[in-house]
Subunit: 131 residues, 2 copies
Amino acid sequence: MQIGEVATRTGLSLRTIRHYEEVGLVTPSARSQGGFRLYTEHDVQRLMVIRRMKPLGFTLDQMRDLLAATDRLESGETVSGQEHARLLERLRGFEQAAEERVADLRVQLARAQDFAASLRERIARAADLRA
Amino acid sequence: MQIGEVATRTGLSLRTIRHYEEVGLVTPSARSQGGFRLYTEHDVQRLMVIRRMKPLGFTLDQMRDLLAATDRLESGETVSGQEHARLLERLRGFEQAAEERVADLRVQLARAQDFAASLRERIARAADLRA
DNA sequence: TTGCTCCTCACGTCACGTGAGGTGGC
DNA sequence: TTGCTCCTCACGTCACGTGAGGTGGC
């Protein structure tokens, strides 16, 4: 799959996808002879995960860490008990942060609705004043 | 009121408040002899409005335009019928955009919750595997 | 050969963050 | 005089946007 199709499927811009590669978030599984980036279904899934994470306000670096941890845990390779515990701890940290950010998003949403409502009111009043 | 108190009351950073002044969003009503910025209650209210607008993703320039329009409409000064209509049209545009962005925020929130849930699941499964 | 898709620089932008070095005011 | 608050540059940062100039592949 070329980058254009990936872009339409994920809703991300070409530049964004390339940027994610620049910072080591998602590297295309292959390149064509001419140097075109080639993505697999798995790559697209990874981009979708990132897209879901975006509203949580994590930095790209944090996302890289998180993806590295889940990749490691689900790689099927044997992981020492100590490393497993370390990875789990890390994920729990992210999970906590995610919950907090979700709560935060709710506040933002409420604020935005608040603002939209007050804007509607102002418009109605201003229109009234003329009627 | 000095900038520090304004910062704690609005939850904005000193730099952010100064930045809003740089771009012409909120200018302190006065300065002390020594050059300290002095804000009135009205200034603080304006900053709160901006804070409520932030999650809507408007640029600072757009916010300036919006505030200018509402200020003009609610200034008490006589405004020609034509200008009044123009201002109202402008506000309606912002209102539309705001509604769209609220809908958008809901999608983002859903996505974020989605992600948090899948993260919880991954953790549970990873912990299970070891148990 | 023509188009459309893709490539790599590399500078620009938006909304601030972060010092550096200096001064105001109770 | 001592602290704490504030001041103005001015460069840095994060996540991309936006050309410029060039090439791949059906």
